[in-house]
Symmetry: C2
Subunit: 826 residues, 2 copies
């Protein structure tokens, strides 16, 4: 799937210049607005047609039973599903009694634009009704980044060439029909009409609906208010019943006259607060929004985004598609998290109901590291959310016969919602991932208050888990057996390298924090002996290595497994898990996603440069990338080992996953981890950013397709930028105290003025193959003439004349690599 | 739980001398009658009270959906559940309008007896009604072993001390209320009232009901006819509606007068035959039964059992409980299988609805080897059933990406019904087990026609599976990774020793059969190259060994796993799988049941005597025996390594599993594999029977508690017996051609007269420990004075004075064992 022709390339917005109902659901995800608290899919204002109607409130879910054919002890009995709450987006329009519906009449013009700097979705439509009346409709929608409970819509209808009677019906609709609740009838029963009406109210231009979810018992309030501006003779009346509140506005528009309605929406929910309290809360938010007014909301919106972009922008030259994609990606990452405020950031943000709205390790390993350097407060909030679920994780650990905390594989509220434990509960690495995200946040901000409180609690709880989960064998090695690593095409392995290395870091960091914050640690019952046992386990961690192949097995014994027979796997049998049983997949050397390769990024010092190259090449050949979590990680390591063209192609995979609908499920929501991974592929891949104990190091290297890369990031109260061109990089401290960074291992002091640094030669990696048909899409079919393929040793530029010659250069350097492995990493 | 005091010890029957409703459900299982085609639980004649009403027809099941919280490719979508078919056992009695119900009035006498030689269940009750009328009721029930579709009941009521009006209502009842259909509501929906009425008929003393199952579409017919014998004035009338047919008989009985009713029942079912055809089939069987008559049915019953016992009886002195238990066990094994006739033998036979009436590997590995030596035709039939499901197994193999056949882990019809694949589909050893059962049958009978047809087909299909399931690694070893062995507390291991050894045998035997039956093999597409690849894989099979510990790991790496913490496992937390998650259990060294130990019995030449002892001791310490499949296997190996007291205790565990309700679920049906294992524990354990390529070898050795053991078995058209006393064994050929056997490795020719052979000394094993609290029950608390504990080297008898000294003797021989390991195995 490549980009739909309706979507236009533009650096700061996503534009759709025509309406194609085939991609309506995809558009709804792409054009979704959110602030991390409220999420509105990009549904058409008039409600229909839709792919999936979607209005979400972070953490408003319904509980549903989890069925088992053969249940086991400890299997979660219920799961949670995000629900479509009261829809306040709907503004229906009748033109001379004819409902405005794009499926009828003629759409003469359609333009939608999601603006990454204004934070609004604008729409412009010119429509000729079946009865030949022509109207122009303009709408602009925002979910406020400044006022967390507020969204607003400005809707304007203009008569183009005649006098028309128009009726606008602005609504709040609960329990909308949601298509495709399928499968288990009990699940369908739980999720159909999840809201029970508690109150409805309408007066003047205002209305409110209060509901409560049936099983999870969450109370939801939604309210709307309106400003109406039109020619004389406008009438309005409000009404409400259980699941609908409606303001009906009528007007007669002469040619060129406009009726404009500004709709303010406020949402609130609570598991504990009373109906009157929530009622007042919602109306209060609504009053505040109305008081702020539309124009001011727009200004606040832009100000929030200006602030974000000032520490997050990435500019690149040479690839306008990826330039747009990275802005799109960062915009959605920001939207999904900025006002989450101690609520989870779901795998799809609030853009769709895919994965039931659950949060996975994606958040900690893909999204939070980006936020830590671009919008740190959101990273902190997400970690505070994890801490808020510590009691549930401790309870789960007990149930599993463990100590400390066992965080859930997938959840909304904090309880484990995975019905298939080999790929859920057994994936204990999520605990180390949470700890790693806390370290990352810590290193990026130097937030010592966080370190002594939230970080310490998370580390102590997870260290206790690891200490109990592993054991020393007769040789004294600390083993972690029978767990599942990141790769979902393997399960229940012994000594997964990723898990073991991350657990080791987790234990060491816990020991460090416990020493630094002695009193607080003592308050958590940590003793000197316990800390010693953490250090011992961490130092004795078993990292299997296959001497014969010279590579690390993903888990112990992995390299003994049978190889996947790719000759029997035609393209239509991907993704594998939909066409082969797990039994078959698990017992073969085939990967869904980066696992050991991820470990090489996260724990760079645990591998020599030679090992990194051999490992990377080994796993590239067996990774089918059926997971959206893979490409960005592969991009980073490809860049590190010198496979810059390959890194570039993986960057494209990560960046364009939703714009190009690469996984064919963007309709269910955006792939937030892959979007965040775009930043990482650029900054950690081509920028070579690594962060060790608060020190920033860069090792920039550009693929030939990108002629310039500039990124800005935040670090410990500072803002700095790096501008990379093929032969040098320029670092600049934009704000904050002077600092020292590393550039390819050399110390560079940053103060008042920009500093240039040369880029050392990159030795191109030998040819690295992917499984047949699974190489990333090679987007630039013909490389520009005269482009720089790579920098040769000695600083010479190799100038290539054609498209395929880059490959030859790679081969030419094969021999060099054999004899001079130490130079791979610059 | 020890034996309920109501159950009396008697060698040839099970008697219940009082009624305790607490053990009613257990009694129903113990007193069940069956012929392998029809199964009637030992419900009271009057229908109520009951634990579980149970009337079963082999392979009559209902299909039900299998739910998944997260489904995977290849997960079976539906399962099958045995259903309670039309109940023909019911004969209700009213005494002066008072229903006879043991919960009301007074039971003055209660006696039930299951006779292992007559094959009937008799009952005698004296009851005083609440209105003070006293009646004596005698009933006798049989499920005909000679007429497969027939059951019969003789019911007699006698007035004891007054004149009473009695009414008998003899019924056929479909869709009885079945208690405790719980869990998933869709499952309950599928299994509640599974029968849809198609026809009902009544005339004279006869009646018939025809039904069809809702989802599986199986047609079931049940009919009854009656002979009524009573004083003058007996009236009768028949009636029927959709789910009930009833013959009502009235009589007035003066003191001492009796009303006797003989009820003949006929059953039939079909997936294909039309209603009229099945109707006629059932009435035809009924007519035949009536024509045979009650007395003749009794005679045929006894004749069938006489024939069985003549080749199956086991006598033992010194333990009347086990003597009864082994007769009980063999009776039920025979009942469950004798007329199965190409239908499966379920784990619970037809005695209850436990495990949904499914068949597992239990049949092939526990039941069929016993039948092969006692009633071979039933073993053959069961293997023919497996062959009849070959097409489904081949289809399943394809679905799993394999070749050949993948037989289901649990099934009724042949389709995989396991909803939890790590413990189901992944347990591929079932395929080698089926092949092994075919070899066993083959070796025990010399049935060459079977070898060239059914056996060949099964072997070719399973060899193809193994060849594809395994692969050669870089060292040339043939590995089978990611499969589950017999032990259900481990899953998805690499190179499970049991599986690999059995697969190797499977492949070699397939190669042998293909060579012997060249044309037939060619017909199955077998080529010389294919056969060579089987031999190569078999010879290169990887059998992991832990050099450090000197034991075989159950699967590769098993001995590296953490040990289970038994100190944190109080008795109430067994069975472990109900109190700990599989994740925890799988990753620790803890076994539910014999696994490697079973391999040592089945593949005795793959282990040295020293290895057997070390392995046995190692696994004893970590086997918690939560499975009923374990004790008999442990008994065999305990005997082989010289732990005779331990072997004796395990024998008791296997033998008394249902009589003592050791697993507390006998209510759901009998544990057929454990019952069959009683035979194996005695014959292969204390008799030392091994069978290699048709040659019988014995290595008898008795525990002190058993002073004499005699068993009869069939072998290749012969009957022979072995009588073992502490110092010698006597072998006798009872029927058939002269033959040679091995006695402790020495050839013994058997012809006309019995042959005596001395028993060599047994070197007692060193102390072998089980997990705390998990040692088998030590039934004889005080050993008889002067009993022989063991035979010392040199043929001297060690005479012990007390109960615990046997343990000391064991310890005394510890040193001997270290220096003379080669003598362990005699």
């Amino acid at each position: 799937m490549i980009r739909h022709s309706n979507y236009q390339v533009d650096p700061w917005s996503l534009r759709e210049c025509a309406l194609d109902l085939e991609v309506l659901a995809q558009s709804e995800s792409l054009f979704a607005l959110s602030n991390g608290h409220i999420g509105l899919r990009g549904n058409l204002d008039e409600g229909e047609p839709y792919g999936t109607p979607g209005t979400y409130l972070n953490s408003v879910y319904e509980r549903r039973p989890l069925p088992y054919g053969e249940a086991g002890y400890g299997d979660p009995e219920s799961s949670e599903s995000v629900i479509n709450v009261t829809n306040g987006k709907v503004i229906r329009l009748l033109v001379d009694d004819e409902p405005f519906d794009v499926r009828y009449g003629t759409v003469l013009e359609h333009d939608r634009r999601l603006d990454f700097r204004s934070g609004t979705l604008t729409r412009s439509v010119t429509w000729r009704s079946p009865a030949d009346a022509m109207v122009r409709i303009r709408s602009e929608r925002l979910v406020s980044l400044s006022q967390r409970s507020v969204a607003a819509i400005r809707y304007e209808v203009e008569s183009v060439d005649s006098s028309v009677n128009v009726v606008l019906q602005s609504e709040l609709v609960a329990n909308e029909f949601v298509p495709e609740v399928k499968g288990d009838p009990r699940v369908a029963e739980a999720l159909e009409n999840p809201l029970v009406g508690e109150e409805h109210m309408s007066e003047g231009h205002r209305a409110l609906l209060m509901h409560k979810t049936k099983n999870s018992g969450l109370r939801v309030g939604a309210a709307m208010d309106h400003e109406v501006d039109g020619p004389g003779g406008v009438t309005s009346s409000a009404e409400s019943i259980n699941d609908i509140a409606r303001l009906t506005i009528t007007s007669t528009l002469a040619t060129g006259e406009r009726l404009q309605v500004t709709k303010f929406l406020a949402y609130g929910w609570s598991a504990h607060r009373s109906r009157p309290a929530l009622h007042d809360q919602v109306l209060g938010a609504l009053a505040s929004a109305r008081n702020t007014g539309w124009d001011e909301l727009l200004k606040e919106q832009r100000a929030s985004l200006d602030e974000f972009w000032s520490g997050a922008d990435i500019e690149l030259e040479g690839d306008p598609e990826v330039q747009q994609a990275v802005h799109f990606a960062l915009f959605h990452v920001f939207q999904a998290s900025c006002r989450s405020e101690r609520r989870p950031i779901a795998a799809k943000g609030l853009t769709g109901d895919g994965y039931d709205g659950h949060t996975f390790w994606d958040t900690e390993m893909f999204v939070l590291p980006v936020l830590a350097h671009t919008y740190p407060v959101a990273a902190k909030d997400a970690l505070e959310w994890r801490r808020s679920t510590l009691a549930q994780a401790e309870e789960r650990a007990k149930q599993l016969g463990l100590e400390g905390a066992a965080f859930p594989w997938r959840t909304i509220s904090g309880q484990e919602c995975s019905a298939y434990w080999p790929a859920g509960t057994a994936a204990f690495h999520v605990n180390a991932d949470i700890a790693a995200a806390a370290v990352r946040y810590q290193d990026a901000t130097g937030d010592t208050e966080f370190e002594g409180t939230t970080a310490l609690e998370l580390f102590v709880a997870t260290a206790r888990l690891w200490r109990r989960l592993g054991h020393h064998d007769a040789q004294g090695r600390f083993r972690i057996d029978g767990v599942t690593g990141p790769d979902e095409y393997s399960a229940l392995g012994d000594n997964n390298v990723y898990t073991n290395l991350m657990a080791s870091r987790n234990l060491l960091e816990a020991a460090r924090l416990a020493a630094t914050h002695g009193d607080a640690a003592q308050g958590l019952g940590v003793t000197v002996e316990e800390v010693a046992s953490w250090r011992d386990a961490a130092e004795k961690i078993f990292v299997p290595y296959d001497e014969r192949l010279g590579v690390h097995p993903q888990s112990e014994g992995f390299t003994n497994l049978d190889l996947w027979d790719f000759s029997l796997t035609p393209p239509e049998r991907y993704p594998l898990f939909l066409h082969f049983p797990y039994f078959d997949i698990y017992r073969k050397q085939v990967l869904k996603q980066a696992d050991l390769v991820f470990a090489m990024y996260l724990c760079p010092d645990a591998f020599s440069p030679e090992e990194k190259l051999r490992n990377f090449a080994y796993y590239e050949a067996i990774t089918v990338r059926d997971s959206s979590l893979s490409a960005s990680v592969q991009a980073i390591l490809a860049a590190e080992v010198g496979a810059l063209g390959l890194a570039y192609d993986y960057l494209g995979e990560a960046a364009l996953i939703d714009l190009d609908d690469r996984q064919r499920n963007t309709r269910d929501g955006l792939h937030l981890a892959s979007l965040a991974g775009t930043w990482t592929a650029l900054v950690a891949g081509f920028g070579g950013l690594r962060l060790r104990g608060g020190e920033l190091s860069f090792a920039p290297r550009l693929p030939q397709e990108i002629t310039k890369l500039r990124f800005t990031l935040r670090h410990r109260g500072r803002r700095l930028s790096a501008t990379i061109v093929p032969d040098h990089a320029t670092y600049e401290l934009l704000e904050g105290k002077a600092m020292t960074i590393l550039h390819h291992g050399d110390r560079v002091d940053l103060g008042g003025s920009p500093v240039d640094a040369e880029l050392p030669a990159v030795i191109a990696a030998p040819e690295i193959a992917q499984p047949p048909g699974r190489a990333p899409l090679h987007r630039h079919q013909s490389r520009p003439e005269g482009a720089v393929t790579s920098l040769l040793p000695g600083g010479l530029h190799a100038v290539e004349g054609g498209s395929e010659i880059g490959e030859e250069v790679v081969e030419r350097f094969d021999t060099d690599r054999e004899t001079d492995q130490s130079r791979i990493d610059g």
